[in-house]
Amino acid sequence: MKILVVNNMVPFLRGGAEELATHLVLNLQQHGHQAVLLRIPFAYQKAEQIYDEMLACRMMQLYDTDLVIALKFPAYLIPHHSKVLWLVHQYRQAYDLSDTKHTNIPQTPDGEMLRQCIREADNECFRSVRKIHTVSSVTQRRLKVYNNFESDLLHPPLNDPERFTADGYRDYIFCGGRINVMKRQYLLVEAMRWVRSKVKLVIAGPADEPSHGEMMKTLIEKYNLADRVQLHLGFQPREKISQWVSQSLATAYLPVDEDSYGYCVMESFQASKAALTATDSGGILGLVTHDQTGWVSMPDPRQLAVALDSIFENRQRTIEMGWAANESWLGKETSWERTIERLVA
């Protein structure tokens, strides 16, 4: 089949949705399809420009294309008779972020008109597509609440699952991902002050702000944790990340109200490592079940310390939970093969 994957693009920015689009195209090709990525520029800084950008997408013409898989607003407005959405998120400033400081749409009659226009264009598009899949339960709920459309939950699979296989269980807990206040790696460092066991912690990833990376270093020095907490700041190659995960005792990931499963936990479960997370970590709780596939703790250093000690001291139990985590993850069948089957069906 000739399949066009349609995403928007903000020039010079790359994030999770761009990675998802790239891997979707690669995997469609590996499954025998002719797949091409179309990236439509989306500037959105000026609210009134959004009208033009929506219209631009609606004016585009596609020929000789069997299927369109579209990921984001306003790129999904491109007309096509056979369109499937794999919705990453809508234009949140017109929905759940419309009355907060995050929105660039003013609280004026003009702003209200733009919001209305976005919602109507969205609804018309959602009515016309063959199928809507959403990447997370949060996106699914928003679509239901704000637009009253049903959708199928289709979690993005791991892009390189083969890298993540259990390679022994050493004495450290690994925490990967971008390092920032919302991901709360600092809470783990604070927790290490209160542990009683000899558990170790390895934190690796790029700091969003250099100052936050410095703050982490200062904390480790201040609490004299250098021999038990390793901090690797900066972008890490996949080989290194997969090695840290695959040789860990367990992993930890404590984001505030994350949208989706989180790649860190998916990788951890793929490698048969149970994960420590927090009660307010949002989508992560869709994967981690307390005392079965990991530990769900209050986001508080002393309580996290208790969990860290328990992971270390009940080593056999920890390893068994890692196996259970792997089993529950594989049971979800989020492979690219299965994903493409559903998108192309």
Binding site: M9, P11, M59, D64
Partner: protein, 345 residues
């Protein structure tokens, strides 16, 4: 500097128009610039031309980069205050091909009005551009003739000229390009009926369908040319292409009325090989001068056979014409250094 390179494409069709974009991208990056490439869809269907042109026009990339380089039409309708054009061709059916045998638009009032509107839209793009470069003198002349616009010729180099290094002058004539009617490989096969020397012809390249390759193979059999003509009707690697040019006596390239000298002419000249072409080939004579670095003859089998025989029988002549190639390329300054200098100026 931050550059956006913009061009149009037809999804699922691959061709020369995308190479120049990809190569420019990688050379700008090599020169230390930040580059983002945008391909937007465009199909030259009369009924949908203006909608599609409008979709380009509605997108404003002002904030996204310091400079926008636009190539294939109508990418120059994208909005940016610092826009440069590397103009490679018009919508030719409304320009130089209007009312020729290739043009399928009837000469009626509606189509004349339509044609005028296309030219009006082009004029907007041209007048907004800070500088207009063309890929050949022919295209610059057309801009002058139809739009009264000055274009500066900026010849497109190949990406890796260093792979073309003369090894030998074996008695073969090679023609490396897509197997298409207007590239006139058929004329070369016909010419081989009349050659008297021990010349061998190699045609290499992929066709958009089986039609022409099969027709050529039939002719080879019908004329009993099996030992004189070899057809490699497939996509060939850069290395295989280099080997062909590096070992041959001379190259042949006979497009009908092409917009530019064509990459095959340039590649042959990098390999110090003479180019046989025809007087009606369009842009080829901008690079190839008769009896200086190649032979330009009438587009007939007999004239072409004579040219082939002359170079096969007189090896010293073939070497002299071929070895004039690198000096000719230097004379025209067909280098990425020049391209990057102009674009970053």
């Amino acid at each position: 500097m931050r550059f956006i390179i913009a061009s149009s494409f037809v999804p699922f069709i691959y061709g020369g128009g995308t190479f120049i974009v990809d190569w420019l991208h990688s050379k700008l990056v090599e020169a230390g610039h930040e580059v983002e490439t945008i391909f937007l869809p465009f199909v030259e269907h009369q009924d949908a031309m203006f909608e599609q042109m409008l979709s380009y026009r509605l997108l404003d990339l002002t904030e996204a980069a310091d400079c926008l380089i636009a190539l294939r039409p109508p990418a120059y309708l994208l909005r940016h205050p610092n826009k440069k054009l590397w103009f490679i061709h018009h919508f030719r059916f409304f320009y130089d091909l209007w009312q020729t045998e290739y043009c399928h638009h009837k000469d009626n009032a509606r189509n004349n009005e339509f044609r005028k509107r296309v030219m009006d839209a082009d004029e907007v793009g041209f007048s907004e551009s800070k500088h207009i470069y063309t890929n050949s003198q022919i295209v610059a002349n057309r801009l002058q003739k139809f739009n009264a616009v000055e274009g500066e010729v900026l010849y497109p180099p190949v990406i890796k000229p260093e792979i073309f290094q003369c090894q030998d002058y074996q008695p073969t004539i090679v023609c490396v390009c897509r197997l298409e009617g207007h590239k006139r490989q058929e004329l070369l096969v016909e010419a081989m009926r009349y050659t008297k020397s021990n010349a061998k012809l190699i045609l290499a390249g992929k066709g958009s369908s089986d039609y022409l390759p099969n027709k050529l193979k039939m002719k080879v059999l019908d004329y009993g040319l099996k030992n004189k003509v070899e057809i490699r009707d497939r996509w060939i690697s850069e290395q295989e292409k280099a080997d062909l040019f590096n070992h041959c006596r001379a190259a042949a390239y006979l497009p009908y009325d092409e917009d530019s000298y064509g990459y095959p002419s340039l590649e042959a000249q990098h390999a110090s090989k003479a180019v046989i072409s025809t007087t009606d080939s369009g842009g080829v004579p901008e690079l190839i001068e008769h009896r200086k670095n190649g032979l330009l003859v009438e587009p007939t089998p007999v004239a072409l056979a004579a040219a082939i025989d002359e170079l096969v029988e007189d090896r010293a002549l073939a070497e002299r014409l071929g070895q004039a190639g690198p000096a000719r390329i230097a004379e025209l300054d067909i280098t990425w250094d020049r391209v990057i200098r102009k674009m970053a100026a």
